[in-house]
Structure formats: structure tokens, C-alpha cells
Symmetry: C2
Amino acid sequence: MFRFVKGSIVDDKSDDQGDALVPRCRAVRADAQRNTHALLDAALAVFATSGVDAPVREIAVKAGVGVGTLYRHFPQRADLVAAVFRHEVDACADAAPVLAAEHGPSEALALWMQRYADFIATKRGLASALHSGNPAFDSLPAYFQKRLVPALRTLLDAAAVAGEARADVDAYELLTAVANLCMQVDGGCPAPAHRMVALLVDGLRYGARASSDGSID
Amino acid sequence: MFRFVKGSIVDDKSDDQGDALVPRCRAVRADAQRNTHALLDAALAVFATSGVDAPVREIAVKAGVGVGTLYRHFPQRADLVAAVFRHEVDACADAAPVLAAEHGPSEALALWMQRYADFIATKRGLASALHSGNPAFDSLPAYFQKRLVPALRTLLDAAAVAGEARADVDAYELLTAVANLCMQVDGGCPAPAHRMVALLVDGLRYGARASSDGSID
DNA sequence: TAATTATGCGGAACAATGTTCCGTTTTGTC
DNA sequence: GACAAAACGGAACATTGTTCCGCATAATTA
């Protein structure tokens, strides 16, 4: 999902014994790629506005395609939801190296944590979906962990090496803690969650000082 | 909801100046009471079997009434869900004094905690509903707390007075902890949750001994 | 370039489900 | 027993997920 194959996987036209056998699979059509992309973009926007329970028709309209097209690319509603979720997890994970390149270690860590907090804050309703038992969501928690834990781990390690954060924090635990922290936020006010996350990050920084003093609590 | 008024609230026929004014409100009809009861019973059974997302028609059929009747008593689906939830909270809270009368303090406490754990374990899907933003569910958390905290508080106090449990545990915290504990349980296997709850209760008992030794951690 | 064909598209139609409406039935009262 | 208010039943409506299939179009081939 979401990493488009530009052509068919077969090499151009050699390697095939014979000339008029099966034509192999054709390349994915350009309009199909365009529509998949448009649907993901539209779904992202609609889910953000109306929540993950928004009607598929609304998404199809926003993407400028028919419902048939939507269902051709995402056989079930849940598949579209899962694809958007994956997309957002990817975006969040990919932000880590960018921030690391543009800022100092602890600054990059702090910025990424806020980025992650924003991501979680927009996921209300999706938590319910994850526990709905729909098999389309089965792989999402693992994907979440697989992409985000290494991203955070890298930032944490860099900050620890630079002496700007304590080194004894588990990335997964931190992700979980922040998720729980931000999940409780009601309404569209992310300020309290931001403050709590900032406190956590300051705690990481404080830990670096404390351990350099030799006093780890 | 669920505490039926046997007659109209007005006193029989005096206290009214005049004879042919407004006939006041009539008593609630017998069939209406019967149907409300039947609907709650049916909903309880159906929700337990098919989850809280079961179709209203299924409930109406099981109760032996038409959907119109269902909607007369519960204007929205969510109202029926909320009513059943209240009913179950009441049943759980009411079990406390019964258990207290039939068993020793710490035994009653242990039994009630398991009773509460069972209640929570059947509530998967309802947690999602509570966070759905539907105003029909707004009052449920408060009701939950109002009924169950005193019930547990009484059992805890009795056990503490008898020297069978530690006295420094907050009832609300304990309820929340057990809820989180049992909410994670997958599938229909309540055994792990039972074990965890038992461990918690044993911890309460251990605390009694520890504090009698004067060593509270 | 023109013909061919697999691929993809659109949206009407279907199915499931929450909700409303209204003619009919039942109940309580006089 | 007659009457009116209350309640009932279920058909009908609205919304939404999903399927189906005739038609359009992009890639391939001659």
C-alpha cells in the first residue's frame, strides 16, 4: 500500500522464452495511481474533519472519483482507514531524520515528540477502531511499533550520546506513555497535551544532568 | 430509567381545585411497563451475545415488540444502551451489601471484586461507545462512579476494620485499576483477569498484615 | 498511427440498519 | 359499556457500506 510500483516487476522484454506467450502483467495505469493518491489525500482530509466514521461517498466525492473506484483500490472501508493510518505513521517516522539533521539532538527530540503528540491527538476514534476486531486493522499496532520505535530510539540515542538526555529510557514505553497522555485530551485543544509532553522531555533532559552527577533516582 | 413509577405522581384525586379541569397525567400503563422491562431484558441478552452494535430489530424481536415500541421507550439506540449499562451498574453495586451479609469482610471484598471484574469484562465495545461523543452517554461515567465507589468503599472499610485488609487504598483508584486490568483481556477468556484481580486483593490483605507490623511501604 | 485489449471508472442498485410516521389496538376512567 | 388518551406495530424513509456491470481509457501491438 502506498509505495507505487512504477511498472510491472518484470524486466523489460528479454528473459522470456518465446514471443507471443502470456503478455505478463501490464504496468499499473497512470490514472489508477493518480486516483489511489487522490483517495488517500481526500480520506486524510475527511477523516481529520469528520472523524474516521465519515461516509465513503464523501471521500469519493472529495477525491473526484466514483465509489466504484474507491472500492477497486480499497476493497473495504477499513482498508482505506488502515492505509491512511500507515501513511501518517510513515510521515511521522520520516520526520525524525529530518529534524535530526536540522536541529541539535535534544531539540530534535523535543520537536519530534510534539510532532508525535499531534499525530496521536488526531487519532481519536481510531483507537476504538483498532479494538473493533476487524482483521484489516490487525497489522497496524505492529506497524506502528516497527516504524516509530526505531525513529524515537535514534533520537534518544543521539541525545544521550551528546549528554543532552538520560540514556536509560525505553523508546516503546515513552511512545506508549505519550499516547496515553494525549489520548485523554478532549475537544480540539492540544495545549495541555503539549505541556505534558514538554514536561516529559524536560524530564529526559534533567535525567542527563542527574546521571552526570552520578545520582540516578 | 428503570425505576418504574407505579402510578402518576399526583395524589389520588383531592388537592385539585375544581373537578373537570385537566385530568392530570394518567398512570403509566401496565403494558408500557411490561414492554420496557422486556426490552431491557432482551437488550441485556442480545448485547451480551452480539455486542453493543447489535441491530435494534433483533432486540425488538427478542422482546416481542415492534421497533416503534422500542423507540417509544428509548428515543435513540444509545438511550437503550445507556439504560442497560445503568441497570448493570446497579446490579453490581447492589451485590455489595448482599455479599457483605453472607461472607466475612475480606471474603466479601474478594468476591465483589471478581463480580466487578466480570462486569467490566463484558463491556468491551462499550468503552468505545463512551468516548463516541454521543450525549446519551455523558452521564454514565458519573453514574458509574457514584454507584460503585461507595459500594467498594463500604467493603474496603469493613475489611480494614476487621484487620483483614489495608486501610489506605482509594476505592476509585482501585476500581480504575481493575477496569484497566480487565479491559485488556482478549477473547472470551476471563481467567487471566481473574488471576490479576485476585493478586490485587491478596495485596490488600497482605497490606493489613504489613501495617499491623508497622511497616507500610 | 490505428487497432486491440486488459485495466480501470462511474454510479445505479442492493443490503443492512437507525429512525419516523400513522392507522390500529389497548388500557384506564367515568 | 363508551370514551379518550396512551401505547403498539410495522411499513416506509434515510443513511451508509458494498457489489455489479456497461462503458471509457491507457498501454500495447501491428
